[in-house]
Amino acid sequence: MGWNAIRIWTVLVYGFMFLPVAVVVLLSFNANQFGSFPMSGVSLRWFEELWHNDAVMRAFRTSIVLGLMTAVISTTLGILASLALVRYNVPGRNTITTLLIAPILVPEVVLAVALLLFLNWLGIGKSFALLLAGHVIFTLPFVILVVQARLVSIKRDVEEAALSLGANPVQTFFSVTLPLMLPAVAAGALFAFTISFDDITGTLFWKPGGVETVPTQIFSMLRNSISPEINALGTVMIIMTVGLPLLGAAVARKLAMKSGT
């Protein structure tokens, strides 16, 4: 097989990955009443309709609050655990790592069922608390993997210098380690937020009746059929989960260049 054949194959594979999503974005600007092809013009009417759709706006609020809370808890747990794994010689480190990434190795449906049944038995039925617990345990492994990869690159020398100059460990952590870790913290938090914001399988098991997140809202709207409104909702979600991280990365880069580091 020649190099050119591989190149064409790669282009086709990328086309396969992105074309359907591009069509979602394209159709969300469709002026055509049924939201189908052929497109009859460009319009923002479907976005306007979303804005006036109470159920959709409620779902957005739920998703954002849930995502933010998940990000805070998951990142805190993840950073602490990563520090221990990267900085210390922990006995049984491989076993601990496997244990910490276990939530991604267990099929999500099984994790969802186990958590629902156990917490329900403890008296925590389908509720926001259950959703939050589920999203935390589901995002934690990803945060740990991302944060750990970034922490490895921070040299210990700087901290040791601070300690030898008389700072206590807590001061060292907050004035030296944490600022250096900030990109890792931000990456972990963003990752947790997007995964939580996008999650659907677990959410369908855990959510109380009447509460919808954006993905479950799309799911229930799909029961009828595809509509331009769903495409518009999809476009907004793509902007949130793809656009925001890219923007964040760009801003971080600008800031880093300005401060000259």
Binding site: M1, R7, T10, V13, Y14, F18, P20, V21, V23, L27, F34, S36, F37, P38, L77, G78, A81, L83, A84, R87, V90, N94, I96, T97, L99, L100, I101, L105, V106, P107, E108, V109, V110, V113, A114, L115, L116, L117, F118, L119, V136, I137, L140, Q148, A149, F197, D198, I200, T201, F205, I218, F219, L222, I226, I230, N231, M237, I238, T241, V242
Partner: protein, 288 residues
């Protein structure tokens, strides 16, 4: 307390919240549903605590469950195979390309940030009766009126491939990136054709990545719930749909526990075999 003792305790203090969360929210719940699977759903509502083998007998002997389990594994296997076939050359291109590598890698990360449900439903816009393909075929005159291409097993596999392909490409890429390109050059300079050099040097060295990608595709594919609901027909239910049906619709939690555990055990055997021969570190590399 001595300095050494404090030093030795510190990592455990840092680890305890995360380990606590995994224990309390995953391990204990898993043990709990093992117990739960031996309880019995009574006709009047409420679960009878005890040691009943009824759920397990039903799950393990009922043809209905067995057929859907086998079909689920078949769909996952076909999906994994197609992902490997499509993904390997693309990963090879990314690993060996010079100019466009960063752009290709960045693009490859994008699907991970786009919601699974949006990527799944996007195919309705393409293959639905008023979708892009039907519109095109009708306007060109190949067909006189739109045909229903959705809601069958093929579209379920298509949706799964679309969802899982990035996992495969990424894992194969990571292992290809770690291979010294000089090895392939050495082989060709010793008289091997490029194709032979690839088959005998690069391909074997990249097998751990292929296996890691394959494992992820298979496990995620076999555990999927959403894709068959959105892109499949009434007869395309996969195993996770049975679990949802038992837990959420019928509220038969003991039966749902047994079904979940069966799925976990079948996929767990695969993960264990993988772990035995390749270890988890390769998987962590591809995910991180």
């Amino acid at each position: 307390m001595s300095v050494e003792a404090r030093e030795a305790r510190q990592p455990w203090i840092l680890l305890s919240p995360a380990l606590g969360a995994v224990t309390f929210l995953l391990l204990v719940p898993l043990i709990f549903i093992i117990v739960y699977s031996f309880w019995l759903r009574s006709a009047i509502g409420g679960d009878q605590v005890g040691f009943y083998l009824d759920n397990w007998q039903k799950v393990l002997t009922d043809r209905f469950y067995r057929d859907i389990l086998l079909n689920t594994l078949k769909i996952a296997a076909v999906t994994t195979f197609i992902c490997a076939l499509m993904g390997y050359p693309a990963a090879y291109f990314i690993a060996r390309s010079k100019g466009s590598k960063m752009v290709l890698l960045l693009l490859l990360m994008l699907p991970f940030w786009i919601s699974y449900i949006i990527r799944t439903m996007s195919w309705i816009n393409i293959l639905g009766t008023s979708g892009a393909l039907n519109t095109l075929l009708v306007s060109v005159g190949v067909i006189s009126e739109p045909v229903q291409m959705l809601y069958n097993e093929a579209t379920v596999i298509l949706g799964l491939v679309h969802f899982l392909l990035p996992f495969m490409v990424l894992n194969v890429y990571v292992s290809l990136e770690g291979i010294d390109t000089n090895l392939e050059d050495a082989a060709t300079s010793l008289g091997a054709t490029r194709w032979q050099a690839f088959l005998q040097v690069t391909l074997p060295l990249s097998l751990p990545g292929l296996a890691a990608g394959g494992l992820l595709c298979f496990v995620l594919g076999a555990g999927t719930y959403i894709t068959p609901v959105i892109l499949g027909g009434p007869r395309d239910a996969m195993f996770a749909n049975l679990v949802f049906e038992a837990i959420i619709t019928q509220l038969n939690w003991p039966l749902g526990s047994a079904l979940s555990l069966l799925l976990l055990m079948v996929l767990g055997v695969l993960v264990a075999i993988y772990n035995r021969y390749l270890g988890m570190s390769q998987l962590a590399k591809g995910l991180g």
